[in-house]
Amino acid sequence: MISIESSIIRLKDVSKKYPPDNVVFSGIDLEIEKGEFVFLTGPSGTGKSTMLRILFCAERPASGEIWVDGVALSSFSNAQVPYLRRKIGVIFQDFKLLSNHTIFDNVALSLEVIGLGKKQAEQRVMQVLEGVGLAGKTSHYPLQLSGGEQQRVAIARAVVNRPSIILADEPTGNLDLQRTEEVIMLMEELNARGATIIFATHDDRLFENTHRRVLRLLNGKIRI
């Protein structure tokens, strides 16, 4: 058995239901090791996003306990949740960009919330935006970008503060094959540098030829 110390994420008997009686999943036991790269898959509506949302405390589980780096999430008060989130980079399925802020400001936000000024953040933001191929559009607004470009902004924002854990919710959903490859490579690189990655997708092709662990969510249970 893996000890709590080496598993960065551990779920024990976790269940989630939405009122009135929509049980998304129940009795989930799961351990993810530090530095692991796992795929989370399953048909639409099985709760992949919900699972990720529980991991960064956007939702609380109905029962069970979750430990992130050995700390039980139930011990986090709502006021403490932000400190957890600074260590987790989340790529949202629906991007969640601020439509009245520029691309630069959107990405810089991740650094601003930890107290960095725009000047201090500039170099890192530019570097990451270059990395996702958007260096030329820093002063555009999200709605002036294509879906794929917006998705890459969401990726940039999630990784700019060098999080230990990256939760990627369909980060390639709007991308063509080449961009998808690039995102996978980016994730591989982040993973190589020590980040733990959970990559949710319903696209089987992404992990067809991989040695990575694939978690299949089906009918409220996880099958490896």
């Binding site: 609380r60 780096d69 919330v113 503060n161």
Partner: protein
Amino acid sequence: MHLGLFEGNHVSDFLQCNQDVIMTLAILCRRAFSDLRQNFCAQLITTMVVSLSILIFAFFTLLYFNLQHFVDRFGSELGLVVFLTEDTPKDRIPSLYQKLTGLSEVEKVTYISSEEAFGRLEKFLKDEKEVLEGVDPQFLPPSFEIQVNRAVFQLKRIKQLAGEIDKWPEVSKVRFGQEWIDRLYVFSGLVRTIVAVTGILLLFTAAFVVTNTIKLTVYARQEELKIIRLVGATNMFIQGPFLVEAFLQGLLGSSLALGVVFACYRFVQGLEAKSELLRGVNICFIPWQYTVAIIASSVLLCVLGTVLAMRRSLRL
């Protein structure tokens, strides 16, 4: 894609909740300022709403204090007259005098002996004083004339005082004021109640309008706030600029309103100096304690309204 970012991936300091970011006032103000610029229109509207609400309320407050001021000034110009029984021994007078001056409501006491009262009557009758010929100069009772302390003047208290003095054995009768003053009081009391009730209703309206205006501006940005929270902002980081804005709105809005009321006050004062008719009115401004209270409550209202409106955006 190549990022080369992860040279220093500090997994070790993971989840140190108490390593709070020092949110210096400078950062907070900078964010508030950029926020203010971005949402200038909404902020301006909120400030105007605060200002107008406080303005209406402040006018009523001004009206209220002037009514009170006016009536009090009239009331305090009268005094009490305490008539003594005719058989009061002369040597009791000094101790009664002492007793009266000892009362907190009393400003000044004058003793009018029977002879003095007789003399006044003679003076009053002038040419017709013959009617008093042969009349005993002691026939009028001796009395004390009391001037009431202006600072504590309240009709209720004076009435009470008169009632108490009336019970003293040496006192035959206490007379105060004239009937029309009594009636003026009843009338002004009624008007004051109406003004006060309207004022309080206006205060509630103002509170309601201001908090709802704030709510609307906060709700309009709720999605934005949720996103900022999702990427790891503390409540203070999110709320800070809003609180600074609310503080400024409350302060500027109420100051502006009181400034307008003050200008009107000075204007009426100017008219007073010119017009014979208005000279007696002697308008007063809202006491400074109340102006401070109005500004403070306006600030409090805006800040509280913001905190309440934001509660929803700051859950999880």
